[in-house]
């Protein structure tokens, strides 16, 4: 019955074939990196910098909403008319784990705000500052390798390698938060390009049907 399991996984796999989530996720990462990089370029402790932290977070939220809208719109216009429409079943997670995930998200936003405030307003100099960018690069590379191995996506391994290379490049030039921003910008570009290549392949493999039932 192993083949039936493989067949049942096809709808999920189909939705990752088009590269649309990669394009939008990469674009989102690129924009978020750019938005927060501006915060590091503003003079530390200035009133404009203080207000910009909140503006940046609003823009971050807009980017996430824009990403979701973009995925939906691109799929409706490009993917579904070519390869067919698929809606996956809702996640079967129990209520407590859903609440735990929500709590984790809020905690992450609060933590990011506090960290940004520390770094931007009080300087945030520490011995670990230089290693933040490379550490993120290693973390991303590990996550991508695991995803690539689990879902058999070879391009993920290339992105993992790219992430490590970015970490090496960021290490001597950028410290702390600015290093993370450059990582997000570089990685976002890489993911978007990988997504565009997959999208191009998908469009080539799935020509628009002449007539639709």
């Amino acid at each position: 019955m192993a083949n039936l399991d493989e067949v049942a996984r096809r709808p999920r796999r189909y939705l990752s074939e088009d590269g649309v989530p990669d394009v939008m996720l990469g674009l989102n990462s690129f924009l978020v990196g750019l938005i927060f990089l501006v915060a590091f370029l503003l003079p530390k402790g200035s009133s404009i910098g203080r207000y910009y932290i909140f503006v940046a977070q609003i823009l971050w939220g807009c980017c996430i909403l824009g990403m979701r809208w973009g995925i939906r719109t691109l799929r409706m216009r490009v993917t579904f008319p070519r390869g067919g429409y698929v809606a996956l079943a809702d996640c079967q997670a129990n209520t407590s784990s859903v609440w735990a995930l929500r709590f984790l998200r809020v905690a992450c936003v609060v933590l990011a705000t506090l960290m940004a405030e520390q770094v931007l307003m009080k300087g945030g100099a520490s011995a670990l500052e230089r290693f933040v960018g490379p550490l993120i690069a290693v973390g991303m590379a590990l996550a991508m390798s695991v995803a690539g191995w689990r879902y058999k996506l070879s391009y993920m391994n290339w992105l993992a390698l790219f992430s490590l290379l970015l970490g090496v490049c960021v290490y001597p030039f950028q410290r702390g938060g600015a290093g993370i921003c450059w990582m997000l910008i570089g990685l976002g570009l890489g993911i978007s390009v990988a997504g565009l290549v997959r999208l191009r392949g998908f469009i080539g493999a799935h020509p628009m049907p002449v007539e639709t039932i």
Binding site: M1, L4, V7, A8, R9, R10, P11, R12, Y14, M76, F80, P81, G83, G84, Y85, V86, A87, L88, A89, D90, H206, P209, T212, I213
Partner: protein
């Protein structure tokens, strides 16, 4: 072999039901591409599955284009699980 559900046991219908088990709903085009069946053939298999109340078929529109949505019913999902269990038992 008398316990085997003959509606699901047919290879094309088994493929359709297995595909639908991995999704909330799909359209006709997706099923056609994945099964490599002709429109007529796929339609006749879907009608048989619908008669057995294993799938629900909803005809709607996306803009001006007709859209046929297909989803597995609770009865169909149960029948598929039961079929897999039976076959696993027979092949063991």
């Amino acid at each position: 072999m008398s316990e085997v559900d003959r509606i699901i046991h047919e290879p094309a219908r088994l493929l359709i039901v297995a595909l639908l088990s991995g999704a909330k709903e799909t359209d006709f085009l997706f099923l056609q591409r994945e099964t490599n069946l002709t429109k007529g053939n796929l339609s006749s298999h879907l009608i048989k599955l619908e008669e057995a109340q294993y799938v629900e078929i909803e005809k709607t529109f996306r803009g001006k284009i007709p859209l046929t949505l297909v989803r597995l019913t609770a009865k169909g999902r149960e029948a598929f699980q039961s079929y897999r269990k039976t076959m696993n038992g027979l092949l063991r």
